[in-house]
Symmetry: C2
Subunit: 409 residues, 2 copies
C-alpha cells in the first residue's frame, strides 16, 4: 500500500470551506488505496494575527513563549481537518509536534529537526487512520515547544516523508508547480514537469518562493520524491527529484530574480593583506549574510570593495562598515538599494560551454549594464539596476528558449 | 517561602490590557516573597469561537479533536502572560497540560484528573520562575490532549495546589467572593469571610455559580485552603476551608436558587412494588439526573409520582415517561417548566432544630406555595413557582438574618 505525505499551506486551509475542499482531496487519496499523512499549516493570516497579539504585550516577544503561541495556529487546523474527515466517515487523528515526536534543537523560532520517532504515526496508520500532523512545530528533548520558522511546514512534510520512507511527498500550494520563471513577471513562463533537487535549491536561494529551501535540502539528502502542485486544480505539477539525463541535456532550466539585496561600496581601501577581513568579520559577527563580493585593485595601491547584503540588514551593515572605513583610512562608503539579482540555473550548464557569455550578450543587447557577477557550477547571477528586472527576465527567458518544452527522449 | 497558586478566569484575561493588569498582581506576589504558580483560562469568548468554528465543519464535532482545538485557548493565554512577565523582568515559563504532566482519563470534554507529576513545575519554581499553567487541559497516558469541561480551570488550579501542597489557592473571578445569596437578586446579600467546603459544595450544586463543583470537592479532599476573590479589587474575598466553631454557630449561611429544573408528574399510577423503578430506570439509563421525587399514595391503590429533571432533558424525559405510563396503565403525564428550587444551606443546621419550619413559615407568610421539599444534613430545598424566586430569596435572607455579620468569637 503506497504511503503518501501531503502538505497543504495556509491559503489552502484558510477557512472551513477550503478545509473541507482539501479534505475531500485526501479522501480521494484514501479511496485510491493509499496510506495518507497530511501536514498542515496555520490558516492564512493566523500566524500574523498571533504575532501582533504578542507584540501588544511584549516587543520583541520572548522566543520560547512566542513559539508556544504560534504553535496554536497549526493545532487549530489539524483538529478541524481531522474532525471533518471523521464526519465524512474517514477515520483520522491529529498529532501535534510533540505527539508526532518531531524532535528539534532549542533554537526557538528557527529550530532544526534533529530526528523523528515515527512510532506513534505508524501506529495510527496501522489502525487505518489518516494522520494529520501539525506543520512548523516540534519539541526539544525536554518537551519545550519549538517552531521551525516561516515555511517550516514544508520542512515538516519532507522530514516526515523521509522518516516514514514515504513513496511520495506532495506539497500543495497556490501555484501550479515550479515554472521556468515567475509567471507574474513573464507570461511565457513554462511549468516544468520536473526539476532536480540542486536546481530547486538554487532557485529557492535565488528568490523563487515556491518551496522552502531547507525542505529541498532535506528531500535531496533523503532522496524523497517531491511533487509541487496546486490545491485548486488537478494538474500533476512539478516533480523535484534526482537529476537525470534529460535534465543534463538542457543548459538552463530557469531564470530567478531577487530584489531583496542592497549593494555597499567602499572606495580607496588601502590594499594590504587582511584588509577585507577587517570589514567582513564584524559584519558576519552581526549575523549579516554577505552575498556577492567584488574587489578591484587599482595601480595606486588602493582598492574598491563592493558587496551585497539583505536590504533589511543595510542600516546595520553601513554602521559597521563606516566605523571600519574610518579606522583603516579608507575613502567613502556608498550604498545602493535599487539593485536586483538575476540568475540563470541549470545542471546542464556543467557540460555546456559559453552559457555565461550568452547571458552577458543577451543582457548587453537589451542595454542592461551588469554591475556584479557571481557563478557556481549550476548558476550564474548578475546584479543589475532594479528597474531592468522584468526586462532581464524576459530577455534571458527568450535567449535560452525556456518557453519551448525540451524534446522528449 | 510560601507557595501560592492563583487562577484567573476568562474575563480576567480577556484582552492584552487585562492580561498586563493581572500579571502585575502576580508580580506583586513575587515581590512579596512568594513562589507563584498561575493557572489561566482562555480569553473570554475564545472557547465559544472555537466551538463555532468546529461546528462549521462537523456537528457534533469529534470529541478527541474538539479537545485538541479547545486546548489552544489556554495555550494562547499562558504564552502571552509569560512573555509579558518576562518583558517586565520577571522570569516566567508557560507549561501546557502535557508539559505540566496533568494526567487525566480519556473522557474527552469532561476528563477527570487522575494525577499530576509535579517534577517539571518544581524544577521551574526552583529556578526562581513564575510558572503559568494552562487550565482546563490535561493529557491521557499515551499523550492525547483532553479537556476537563466548562469551569475546568478551577479544577486545574486546585489539583495543582493539592499536588504541590501549596499554602493557598486563590481563585480570581469577576465577583468579590462568595455571598449569602446572589447580590443581583437581593442587594442585602452579604459577602462571607469564610465558608466551609461542605457548604460551598451544596451552594455550587444548588445553583451558585462562583466555583466549579469538582474543584471544591478536590479542595476538600486534599484540604487546600481556597480563596475566592475579585481580579478587579483588593478585597480579600472569601476563604473556603474546613468548618470551624464559628460556622457551626450559624444555622444558615446562604440562600441558593436554581431555575434550571422542570417538574414531571404522572397521575394514577398503579401502586404496586417496583412500579417507580419502571419509570426511573430508563430515565437514568438516558443519563438524565432526577433530583427531587415525591410519591403520594391514595386510598384507591393509585399513586401520583412527581419529580424534577434539568430543563434541557425535559423533552427526552417526557418521551420515556409517556411510554412507560402507557405500558403500566397509568393516568396522565404533566410537566411544568415554570418552577424554581430555593435552598438554604448551613453546617449549623445540624445542631439547630426548627430550621425547616422557620423556612416553611417564612415562605407561607409571603404567600408562596411549596410544591416539593428535599432535605439533607446541611441544606433544605423547596420547589416553588418560578415567579416567586426573587421574593423567596429575599424573604429567606431576611428570616435568617443573613444580612447581619455573625458576632466575632
Amino acid at each position: 500500500m503506497p504511503l503518501i505525505v501531503q502538505k497543504y499551506g495556509g491559503t489552502s486551509v484558510a477557512n472551513p470551506d477550503r478545509i473541507a475542499n482539501v479534505a475531500n482531496r485526501v479522501i480521494k487519496g484514501v479511496m485510491d488505496g493509499n496510506k495518507m499523512v497530511v501536514v498542515l499549516s496555520a490558516m492564512a493570516g493566523e500566524t500574523d494575527r498571533l504575532i501582533n497579539l504578542a507584540k501588544e504585550l511584549s516587543d520583541p516577544p520572548d522566543p520560547r513563549e512566542l513559539d508556544v503561541l504560534l504553535a496554536t495556529g497549526e493545532q487549530v487546523t489539524v483538529s478541524l481537518f481531522s474532525m471533518y474527515l471523521r464526519s465524512q466517515g474517514v477515520d483520522a487523528t491529529s498529532l501535534l509536534g510533540h505527539q508526532a515526536r518531531i524532535y528539534t534543537d532549542r533554537a526557538y523560532g528557527r529550530a532544526r529537526i534533529i530526528g523523528i520517532d515515527t512510532g506513534r504515526i505508524r501506529e495510527e496508520l496501522k489502525k487505518g487512520r489518516v494522520v494529520t500532523v501539525a506543520g512548523f512545530q516540534g519539541v526539544d528533548e525536554v518537551g519545550n515547544i519549538t517552531t521551525l520558522g516561516r515555511g517550516g511546514s514544508d520542512t515538516t512534510a519532507v522530514a516526515v516523508a523521509a522518516a516514514l520512507k514515504a513513496d511520495l511527498c506532495e506539497i500543495y500550494t497556490d501555484v501550479e508547480g515550479v515554472y521556468t520563471t515567475d509567471p507574474r513577471v513573464y507570461e511565457r513562463a513554462r511549468l516544468l514537469d520536473k526539476i532536480s533537487y540542486d536546481e530547486m535549491l538554487e532557485m529557492a536561494s535565488l528568490g523563487a518562493k515556491v518551496l522552502e529551501i531547507r525542505s529541498v535540502g532535506f528531500a535531496k539528502q533523503y532522496r524523497v520524491p517531491l511533487r509541487v502542485r496546486s490545491t485548486f486544480s488537478d494538474h500533476p505539477g512539478t516533480l523535484v527529484c534526482m537529476e537525470d539525463d534529460d535534465m543534463e541535456a538542457i543548459p538552463v532550466s530557469g531564470v530567478a530574480f531577487s530584489r531583496n539585496e542592497a549593494r555597499v561600496s567602499i572606495t580607496r581601501v588601502p590594499d594590504r593583506p587582511g584588509i577585507a577581513v577587517r570589514f567582513f568579520e564584524p559584519v558576519a559577527a552581526a549575523n549579516i549574510v554577505v552575498d556577492l563580493i567584488i574587489q578591484n585593485t587599482s595601480i595606486d595601491g588602493l582598492a574598491d570593495i563592493t558587496f551585497t547584503v539583505p536590504k533589511s540588514d543595510l542600516a546595520k551593515t553601513l554602521e559597521i562598515v563606516r566605523n571600519v572605513a574610518r579606522e583603516v583610512g579608507a575613502g567613502e562608503v556608498h550604498s545602493d538599494e535599487k539593485i536586483a539579482k538575476i540568475s540563470i540555473v541549470g545542471v546542464g550548464m556543467r557540460n555546456n560551454a559559453g552559457i555565461a557569455s550568452r547571458m552577458f550578450n543577451a543582457l548587453a543587447q537589451a542595454g542592461i549594464n551588469i554591475m556584479m557577477i557571481s557563478t557556481s557550477e549550476i548558476k550564474i547571477s548578475c546584479v543589475i539596476e532594479d528597474k531592468y528586472t522584468e526586462l532581464a527576465v524576459r530577455v534571458l527567458h527568450d535567449a535560452f528558449g525556456l518557453e519551448t518544452p525540451p524534446p522528449k527522449r
